[in-house]
Amino acid sequence: MTTTPRNAEALARALREPTASDDDLARIEQGLVRGLEARRAAPSAAPRFVLGALGLAAIAAAVLFVGLHRSPPPTIAGGPPPVAPAPSLPLPPPSATLAPGDELASGAARLGHATLSVDEGSLLHVDDDALAHAVVTLARGRVHVAFHPVHRGEEHLAVVTDLARIEVVGTEFVVTRSEAGTDVAVEEGVVQVTVLAGGEVQELRAGDVVSVPHALPSVAPPSSPAPIVHAPAPSAIVVALPSLDEAVRAADAGDRAPLERLATEGSRSERLGALFELESAAARAHDRAAQREALERTIALDPTGEDGARALYEHALLATDAATTAAELARYLDGFPDGAFAAQARQRLCATDPSRCVAP
């Protein structure tokens, strides 16, 4: 049997065939009906991803107007300079939740799954029409945005100045609006910057900094986009968030930093995957301390799920004394009496501490 040279293409065509029979769809529909009835019985348990609808209740108070002190604008000579990164500020805890029409002039506040923190003297306005897509306007000053949606792609946030629109789906970055122009510095993830005069669009990654000066030429030369200056971002993160495959390959080559980054900053499933890879690497290196740490982080991230359950069981096996082993096995059995490792856990617990043996 010979192969055809375009098998990936042929496979894609084959995959276009329907996968669901009428019975499948009917069964799923029945499940959906049950879900709809449960939803009707317990409404609003799920989080609303984006603030905005005027009917939303309970938007907290504290519109933060304070005496405004304008920071002296940076002087810029010559061509677009590297932007001096802002002093690294520990983000203050958000003190308010924003709603359409609100303004933020200092401190930090939440907008959906975003935390916005502005320097003293800044002015950030939440657009009135932020129903389905949160938009904030930076009139002056600097805003640090940390936006970590539960599911990337389902929530959007845009920061707008008079010169640029910065679109995000999950990232951390800093926008500075001064008399000289608009600067964007990306700390994590990917942002899309649209230069409003001319419509040019650029995609920036962690470590990138772009300046959009006020005095744009009337006709921008097509070959000279707004320069991207690679400057260390305030948190010195210089690589974009990798995929798990890419992070594993880097770890195999001796660089665990991407894996660590993914374990801290990725989506939930990415973090669980990265933590497992860190655990595996530690096990192969016979580094029990690192293995335990990875397991503890997994337990913290998934305290009631399968990943956390497995991690809890394995953590018990790594204990160095019988009393700790017994205590941790008992903890596993308390939380997951019917878990995948319950039978083994009971056997080991009985072997470790006969006083805890129970009849099957």
Binding site: M1, T2, T3, T4, N7, A8, A10, L11, A12, A14, L15, R16, P18, T19, A20, D24, L25, A26, R27, I28, E29, Q30, L32, V33, G35, L36, R39, R40, A46, P47, R48, A53, L131, A132, H151, R152, G153, E154, E155, H156, V169, E203, R205, A240, S243, L244, D245, R268, S269, L272, F276, S280, A283, E306, D307, R310, Y313, E314, L317, Q344
Partner: protein
């Protein structure tokens, strides 16, 4: 077996899917089911292809997709069609499941290496591996992320920019995954000697 009657043409809102979505979000079951009957088959296909095989998890992903859409209607910004938005939700949920499966499959490998009994199993259940179709075996050669971009691009016909918006992943990363996916599939199908209809 459909207990709730479908909407008639006269009952369909003038603004189509978006109107159904709003009415469903407000609690109108008929609108929710009309939305499902319009898009359910496609969502099922997307979930099945990303998960690699049709199983119980696909049912859950499809149901969760529509329920999540009702809860998250406020985040739909109209820049894509409702269908595309639903595919994006299904993709993310299917990827979560697929990644979990991949991790659990590796638990067994780790326990074997450590010589620790009882932590997962590397054996495929009931010889199911051999019973999978060539399509499923081929998809099994890809990582979940590679499968997702291959399915969304080659099967569902989305551009990389659209997939980037669905998944929050950069276009260049998606392109690299798609190239890698095609290479792996070509290599696998060549090695099996399988031939697919041209």
């Amino acid at each position: 077996m459909r207990g709730v009657p479908a909407l008639t043409v006269d009952e369909l809102p003038e603004d189509g899917d978006l109107g159904l979505l709003r009415r469903a979000s407000d609690g109108e079951h008929a609108a929710a089911l009309a939305l499902f009957r319009t898009h359910g088959a496609r969502i099922h296909r997307t979930a099945t292809r990303i998960l690699g095989t049709a199983d119980g998890d696909v049912d859950d992903v499809v149901q969760q997709t529509f329920l999540a859409a009702l809860d998250g209607v406020g985040s739909f910004d109209g820049r894509s069609s409702v269908a595309t938005w639903l595919v994006g939700i299904a993709t993310r949920r299917a990827l979560d499941v697929a990644r979990g499966r991949a991790r659990r499959a590796r638990w067994g490998a780790l326990s074997s290496w450590l010589g620790v009994p009882g932590i997962g199993s590397t054996a495929a259940p009931d010889g199911a591996l051999e019973q999978r179709s060539v399509v499923e075996r081929a998809l099994g050669e890809l990582t979940p992320d590679q499968r997702a971009v291959f399915v969304l691009s080659g099967v569902e016909g989305y551009t990389l920019q659209e997939i980037a918006e669905m998944t929050g992943t950069g276009v260049s990363t998606l392109h690299a995954r798609l190239v890698a996916a095609r290479k792996r599939l070509d290599a696998y199908l060549a090695s099996t000697g399988e031939e697919l209809d041209p």
